[in-house]
């Protein structure tokens, strides 16, 4: 399983802060984003290629090509605005 977290605008738009999904057929960050976008509606809109979505794998900033492994914690969120 993969542990998926959503923050800020994504959490509110998806009405979801946390879910677990099977890790089969998800090898990279890109695969996960593509799979989630397939859900349609707000999912496809928020994960469209022209919207900036940041991804962290196991609490480290990650890029589209980065590998995802069984048991990983993946977070999706908008560009950060702290400080």
């Amino acid at each position: 399983m993969l542990r998926i977290l959503y923050f800020a605008r994504l959490r509110e738009t998806f009405c979801l802060s946390f879910e677990e999904i099977p890790s089969e057929s998800i090898n990279t960050v890109s695969d996960l984003k593509f799979m989630l976008a397939q859900r349609g509606g707000v999912w496809s809109r928020e994960l469209a290629s022209d919207r900036a979505v940041r991804v962290a794998v196991n609490q480290e900033m990650a890029h589209d090509g980065d590998v995802i492994r069984e048991g990983d914690e993946i977070a999706l969120f908008p560009p950060v605005t702290g400080g």
Binding site: Q59, A75, F77, P78, V80, T81, G82, G83
Partner: protein
């Protein structure tokens, strides 16, 4: 190194003193305080700060370690608040302590630039017209990117020498 995410306010004098006390080689302490602003064209009533608890501490520690390494400074404090804040409230405090002022100033700016683009915090503003998530600013990416160029790598070598 003292790094904490908290809802409470902080005392700047105590935090600065904690950082330099006991290390007589520290001669230059730079610091930065970020505040909730409210301007005529953006009359903010309140700000709510969300963060990603599992990642925040880790990411701030990694930024602080990078600053210690790059600028050869001696110690760093980062305090970032979360939760409900109003205009005039303090959001973040960064303190850098070193032997000389140039390295302390650079390290402090570096930490703020990295924090603004890499640390998982998000601001939601409430104004008279409703509430919305603050958009990330292009200028923060620009500020961040300058630390990666060759000029800055040379600078790192200078401080290490």
């Amino acid at each position: 190194m003292y790094i904490i995410v908290q809802e409470n306010d902080f005392d700047i004098d105590s935090e600065i003193t904690r950082l330099y006390q006991g290390n007589p080689a520290i001669g230059a302490v730079a610091s930065f305080v970020g505040l909730v602003r409210a301007e005529a064209d953006n009359p903010v009533n309140a700000l709510t700060l969300e963060h990603y608890p599992g990642m925040t501490q880790k990411s701030l520690e990694s930024i602080a370690n990078e600053a210690l390494d790059r600028f050869n400074i001696m110690d760093v404090t980062i305090i970032h608040r979360t939760g409900f804040l109003i205009p005039g409230d303090r959001i973040v405090l960064v303190i850098t302590a070193g032997g000389h002022r140039e390295q302390s100033f650079l390290a402090c700016e570096f930490i703020m630039d990295y924090l603004k683009t890499s640390a998982p915090f998000w601001k939601k503003e409430t104004s008279p017209t409703g509430s919305h998530w603050v958009e990330a600013q292009k200028k923060d990416d620009v500020a961040f990117s300058r630390w990666g160029d060759d000029n800055m790598k040379n600078l790192k070598r200078d401080f290490k020498a």
